[in-house]
């Protein structure tokens, strides 16, 4: 059997995911991605908002992550996320409603601060929609 990586995603609210996977890719705080294969050199970095991607049994899967830290060892990836959910945990209706709300807020925003909050909300909802395979998420 080819070497595997133990991927663990935990948040303060709950452990989200834990399994042996073949490949992991996660977003970093500097807007890029890290791709991890087994045997990767030990690494610590900040995680950004976006989609984590992993390969298990030749299949691709997605997990949303919102901020936190990643610790990588030769045979493990540990993500300490501020928030995170697997596709099964995503509430599609809620994400869509949140997207509509964010779009409305974005139009009404008066200050820079409001604008930033609305934009962050929109991004978060789009990430969730994209993970769940919703058409609205594809523009992201």
């Amino acid at each position: 059997m080819s070497p595997m990586i133990k991927l663990e995603v935990v948040t303060p609210e709950r452990p989200v995911f834990s399994a042996e996977v073949a490949e992991v890719q996660f977003p970093t705080a500097s807007r890029g991605y890290y791709g991890i294969l087994p045997g990767h050199t030990p690494l610590m970095t900040e995680v950004g908002d976006g989609l984590l991607y992993y390969v298990q049994d030749g299949q691709q899967h997605w997990i949303t992550v919102f901020g936190g830290f990643a610790e990588v060892g030769p045979d493990r990836v540990t993500i300490l996320a501020r928030e995170s959910e697997t596709v099964a945990m995503i509430d599609l209706e809620r994400a869509e409603a949140s997207r509509q709300r964010a779009l409305k807020l974005l139009k009404e925003a008066l200050t820079e601060h409001d604008l930033a909050i609305a934009q962050a909300k929109l991004d978060a909802s789009l990430i969730r929609l994209q993970a769940a395979g919703h058409p609205a998420g594809h523009g992201f």
Binding site: V10, P12, E13, T28, T41, L43, M44, F69, P74, L80
Partner: protein, 293 residues
């Protein structure tokens, strides 16, 4: 001997008390479940966080080329503990067995033994505030009647305040005194030093020393963002431990009280029946002897 009426009244009153303690037990069970759920969910995150921080700190320490930044120093170089900040966590309400007494005793012992001259005290819970008053201490922060949802705010306030104080050279360490949640019926009063971090060689990860971690973008900025989150997570965990312990302790205390009330009712009922029996016997004797006469 107490009259039949008196005993009946006692039984009624004990029954009322038993109903109250039973209800309290049930309420505590619900609250315990809520707190425990959050605690059990947070614990893996907290222990992973601790593991990761240890690794990064071990790396910075093990590499002479890396100059420790201000955040790293906070957690690495213990100063002599002359001024400390202590967060004392007890409950707002009583009727929870030895819960408060145990943690306050631990606080007494800790303050008697520590070498600090100045203690900044933060109290969580009315019982902790009363304890501080009794000992002539003025708490810097008082957090009373905090619901589960309000913990985050307390944690943020204390951790940010403590970090600022540490950097301004006003305190040398941050401690938490709380009840550790072993199980719903067992709590251990615990004194925990959040920072400077306790790092002994045996707990440091061997691997971290053998293969150095890449730290992106650089070790100090990673630690800079990591450490405040670590402190917050630990404080939040401690508050949840205490909350779960409190409800567990109250549930156990109320369960015992309900059982005791049940026993008491049994004894009183027995006495009542004896008296009733005695009076019936008396009446029969009177009637029989009257008929004989």
């Amino acid at each position: 001997m107490a009259g039949l009426q008196d005993i009946r009244r006692r039984i009624r009153s004990v029954k009322n008390t038993q109903q109250v303690t039973k209800a309290m037990k049930m309420i505590s069970a619900v609250k315990l479940r809520k707190a425990q759920e959050r605690l059990v969910a947070l614990r893996p995150y907290a222990s992973k966080m601790m593991e990761v921080v240890r690794r990064v700190v071990g790396r910075i320490r093990g590499d002479a080329e890396i100059q420790p930044g201000p955040a790293a120093q906070t957690f690495l170089s213990p100063r002599e503990e002359k001024r400390i900040r202590v967060m004392l966590v007890a409950s707002d309400k009583g009727l929870c067995g030895g819960f408060n007494a145990n943690v306050l005793k631990a606080a007494n012992v800790f303050l008697a033994e520590c070498s600090a001259e100045i203690v900044h005290l933060d109290v969580v819970g009315k019982r902790a505030a009363e304890w501080a008053k009794k000992h002539g201490l003025t708490p810097a922060g008082e957090y009373l009647n905090i619901p589960l949802t309000g913990f985050q705010r307390v944690v943020t306030e204390i951790s940010e305040g403590a970090a600022a104080q540490y950097h301004a050279d006003e305190i040398d360490a941050l401690y938490v005194i709380y009840n550790y949640f072993n199980s719903p019926i067992a709590q251990t009063p615990t004194v925990f030093r959040v920072f400077p971090m306790e790092m002994d060689r045996s707990t440091e990860d061997r691997e971290a020393i053998e293969i150095p971690h890449l730290l992106e973008p650089d070790p100090n900025s990673v630690l800079e963002t990591l450490l405040p989150r670590f402190v917050e997570t630990e404080l939040l965990r401690n508050l949840l431990e205490s909350s779960a312990s409190e409800h567990g302790a109250r549930m156990a205390a109320m369960d015992k009280a309900s059982n005791n009330a049940g026993e008491m009712i049994g004894k009183l009922t027995l006495t009542m029946n004896k008296i009733r029996q005695a009076s019936i016997t008396n009446q029969i004797i009177e009637i029989v002897s009257g008929a004989n006469a």
